[in-house]
């Protein structure tokens, strides 16, 4: 009696079909639709859209600006991030855990909140400068409304990203390599220059590429700082075009978003080229090198590091909170004039703000929950699958996140402008189109931790269940899910935090009744109601902190590196 090969394939097939469906719907479909709009508008091959885009001088100015702030922001965050990573990883500075938590926090705060906080810090109406008697006269332009301001904030926003990647690389640096160089007579700076930094090239270049992509695709910071100065980058240009022209200008917007994609890809390709030039592979892993004793410089260095935290985190947040307590523009803040009126207004009176809170909560929870459940089978296929298309699969999941959010937003618009075929469901101008875009964009944030969870797991645990007679779905439910869930849930939490005040995607997809918190903050600020924007932002920062602390409770069960702010 023989059993056909197909017997085992039933559940395998179901899993494969499910994974392919997720990838197709959330990754391939939007990208294909976008390219189709640019090259085959209306179903016929044409270069008209590309031609129309190329001749416009605004396009070129915005592209040039995008490159400038992209490169500037990348350079700034590289310097800051690498320096801090070296100090934290290689020297004997104290209170690392607390410092890392504080230093990484800007990454967790939405860019537009960062922008708002800094604007409140430096502007003529800054309550903090006002308290100190340093405020510029009312009506004077805010110094941050400039390309330099954008570069500064992009640098602060993404320095933690560089820090995390370089720090992960430094952790893998075997101490033998450092010790061999030292016993060959090299001093610490020589070791740093000739051994450590060269070996960190892949991490640093990788971090640079990722930061560049993030800077180029960032919408919140250039929107808050660039639009008032009429300094447009590609994402803000797209936003303005769409806000002014609506769906009629979609083709043009599609072209512009592909242009951002191209700029971002150049960064990634460059990174690939540079990393391949030399052999940077580290063979053995062992204990990390003994920390370098700073000696009498320890106190000054520690002081400097905490001063940095005060400047990049504490001051802007204080500025933000103070602004949220002000009664009106130009009113000097004091114990007598401070008020919670702004909080009351946004929480109880302003209908759109209340809707936005509810919408964003539902949206981020939905996106996080879906991603956790999708990440477990996806991670299973990526980490443990035997097929050749695994690499393609991984790339397909990463793509929507690697590309700037504007690209995905435009793709979603194109996909759902008309009702979904066959079903006739119309999700354009509803909250569902935002959910779709969130799902596509953030899925990878849960897949990555899940994959690292799988890689730390002994495959024999699953095989033991298999020989015990458990089929694929039973194994997934009883063995794999309980073991990988903490990592995937931590990923879900990251998604929840990121999606809660997301702006880039929702700025292009929102509609009346379907506002999100990010959009509301943006709208308040654009309408000149900084105090309301500050109040909403303050609430968001507080909830982000709470969620980070909540996630720390899970930390014991997680693979290291899943929670970025845990050192």
């Amino acid at each position: 009696m023989s059993v056909p090969r197909q017997e085992r394939q039933g559940q395998d097939m179901a899993l494969t079909v499910g994974i392919v469906a997720i990838i197709a719907v959330f990754s391939l479909l939007p990208m294909v639709r976008l390219l189709q709009e640019v090259v085959l508008p209306g179903g016929r091959f044409s270069l008209n859209v590309i031609h129309a885009g190329i001749v416009g001088s605004t396009t070129w100015r915005a592209t040039w600006n995008t490159l400038c702030v992209g490169l500037g922001g990348t350079a700034f965050s590289l310097i800051l991030g690498v320096a801090v990573a070296l100090l934290v990883s290689l020297t004997d500075v104290r209170r690392r855990q607390a410092f890392v938590l504080c230093f990484v926090t800007p990454l967790m705060i939405a860019p537009q909140v960062t922008a708002l906080a800094w604007l409140q810090l430096f502007g003529p109406s800054s309550p903090l400068l006002d308290l100190l008697g340093l405020a510029p006269p009312l009506g004077a332009p805010n110094p941050l409304y400039s390309p330099e301001g954008i570069v500064l904030l992009l640098g602060i926003q993404y320095a933690p990203l560089v820090f995390l990647i370089v720090r992960a690389g430094l952790r893998k640096l075997p101490r033998e390599l450092v010790e061999a160089a030292r016993s060959a007579g090299a001093g610490w700076f020589t070791v740093l220059r000739t051994v450590i930094l060269p070996l960190m090239t892949p991490s640093i270049v990788g971090a640079a590429a990722l930061t560049f992509v993030s800077c180029v695709g960032n919408f919140g910071i250039p929107a808050f700082l660039g639009i008032p100065a009429n300094y447009l980058v590609l994402p803000t240009l797209i936003y303005q075009r769409l806000a002014g022209g609506g769906p009629a200008v979609l083709s043009e917007a599609a072209f512009l978003s592909v242009l951002i994609g191209v700029v971002a890809m150049v960064g990634i390709v460059l990174q690939d080229r540079i990393s391949r030039r030399r052999d940077f592979r580290i063979t053995a892993t062992s204990l990390p090198a003994a920390p370098y004793s700073l000696g009498r410089w320890r106190h000054p260095v520690e002081l400097g590091m905490w001063l940095l935290i005060v400047i990049i985190l504490v001051l802007p947040l204080v500025g933000l909170v103070l602004t949220s307590l002000v009664r009106g523009y130009g009113v000097t803040l004091s114990a007598d004039t401070a008020t919670l009126e702004n909080y009351r207004f946004i929480l109880f009176e302003h209908a759109a703000a209340r809707r936005a809170f509810v919408n964003s909560l539902y949206l981020s929870f939905g996106a996080a929950a879906f991603a956790v459940f999708a990440a477990i089978p996806l991670g299973y296929a990526i980490a443990w699958g035997k097929n050749r298309w695994i690499k393609v699969l991984n790339l397909a999941v990463e793509l929507p996140y690697a590309l700037p959010g504007v690209v995905l937003a435009i793709a979603s618009l194109l996909l759902f402008l008309k009702p979904v075929p066959i079903t006739g469901i119309h999700i354009y101008n509803t909250v569902w189109i935002i959910l779709y875009a969130y799902l596509a964009r953030f899925l990878v944030l849960a897949v990555r931790p899940a994959v690292s969870g799988y890689l730390q797991l002994d495959r024999a645990l699953e095989e033991a269940a298999q020989v015990a007679g458990a089929g694929l779905f039973t194994r997934l439910r009883t063995i794999v899910f309980p073991l990988v869930a903490p990592a995937a849930i931590a990923g879900g939490l990251l998604i929840f935090m990121t999606a809660l005040s997301e702006l880039t995607v929702s700025a292009l997809l929102w509609s009346s009744e379907a506002e999100t918190i990010g959009v509301i903050i943006f709208a308040f600020e654009q309408g000149g109601d900084s105090k309301y924007a500050a109040a909403v932002s303050a609430i968001m920062v507080a909830s982000t902190f709470l969620l980070m602390l909540l996630a720390n409770l899970l930390a014991g069960k997680l693979p290291s590196g899943v929670l970025p702010w845990r050192d």
Partner: protein
């Protein structure tokens, strides 16, 4: 219980051959060890039998049922084999009792019966009091026993051991060896035991299958493997046997024949029907080499190294007639041999390795 039949099994990974025409028959209730150096393909064999890999050619039967061939592949969960994994693979999120009862739960066996069978399985490995504990709170030996109980509870037709002692310290190994032997005696399960440790294989197995470079080298009882290796690989792999070139000078008579080896005439054991031939090889053990005085038959040479091993020394020796041939033997205290000194040795016995065709 059921026997296992592996017929002409071949497995290639991306063109590289991992197993090549291996055939092994394991009788019902037999304890068979698969022995070989690391990378020889023994783990691949286990994974093929368990169903984690698909084979390139040949077929595998468990009992009467064909489970693997070019056209058939019964999934692991339907094969009813038990595996004791090298690192135990106990599920950390379940208690000991839940670990053991998992297979029964999957098979939808009633709660009462499940509990009874888990209790019996725990008793079998002497772990009754540990049912509520988590695997993390157990010692290495206790985890091993839980793993054993877990694979037994579903009454598998065949139990596969994947180097189960590799992660234990020396003392624990000895006592676990005893337990495995005891367990096999009590349950009468068919066992396939993968190991790279010859002492383990010799101590436990009814028969040993020696595998090298994906090929079956010899399948025989431990005694036969030791005394009558079928080829040079087995001869040199088992107990560091020495392989010496020889000329067969007389036909086999009564299981012996006369050979000339290193200028010495010697009577060695051999297979039936051996005839005089050139370029033969004999296998001898360190215990079959002794130092002799100048007049006695033997061969001269130089001591290359003397390594003291506590109570005895291992002497490495180079015969004048064949300087590339490293011989070694043991000398009890007091050791008089030193590196560079001259000595005369003689072989006392040996085994004529069969010609390649005969193997």
């Amino acid at each position: 219980m059921a026997g296992l039949s592996i017929k002409d099994v071949t497995k290639r990974f991306d063109g590289a051959s991992a197993l090549d025409g291996v055939s092994i028959d394991v009788a019902d209730g037999e304890f068979l060890a698969v022995l070989g150096p690391s990378g020889c393909g023994k783990t691949t064999l286990l994974r093929l039998i368990a169903g984690f890999e698909t084979l390139t050619g040949g077929c595998i039967r468990i009992g009467e049922r064909e489970v693997s061939s070019r056209h058939v592949n019964v999934p692991p969960e339907k094969r009813r084999v038990g595996i004791v994994f090298q690192n135990y693979a106990l599920w950390p999120h379940m208690t000991v009792a839940e670990n053991i009862g998992y297979a029964l739960k999957v098979a939808r066996i009633s709660r009462a019966e499940r509990e009874e069978r888990v209790r019996r399985a725990l008793a079998l490995v002497d772990m009754e009091r540990y049912g509520g504990r988590r695997p993390a709170s157990l010692s290495g030996g206790q985890r091993q026993r839980v793993a054993l109980a877990r694979c037994l509870v579903a009454e598998p037709r065949l139990v596969l051991f994947d180097e189960p002692l590799a992660n234990l310290d020396v003392h624990l190994r000895a006592s676990m060896e005893d337990e495995f032997a005891d367990f096999h005696k009590r349950t009468g399960t068919t066992v396939l035991y993968i190991t790279h440790d010859q002492a383990e294989a010799m101590a436990l197995a009814d028969r040993i299958a020696v595998i090298d470079h994906g090929r079956l080298m010899q399948l025989a009882t431990p005694q036969t493997i030791y005394h009558e290796p079928a080829n040079e690989m087995v001869a040199s792999f088992i107990s560091q046997g020495m392989v010496l070139p020889a000329t067969v000078e007389s036909p086999e008579a009564d299981g012996h024949c006369r050979v000339r080896v290193l200028d010495q005439d010697l009577v060695v054991r051999c297979r039936k029907g051996e005839r005089p031939r050139d370029k033969a090889r004999i296998c001898c053990r360190a215990s079959q080499l002794t130092a002799v005085t100048a007049k006695k038959p033997g061969f001269d040479g130089t001591v290359k190294r003397a390594v003291y091993r506590g109570g005895a020394a291992r002497i490495e020796f180079e015969p004048d007639g064949a300087p590339h041939l490293g011989l070694h033997f043991e000398r009890p205290d007091p050791v008089t041999f030193a590196a560079g000194s001259r000595a005369r040795l003689a072989l006392t016995s040996g085994w004529l390795i069969p010609a390649v065709e005969a193997a």
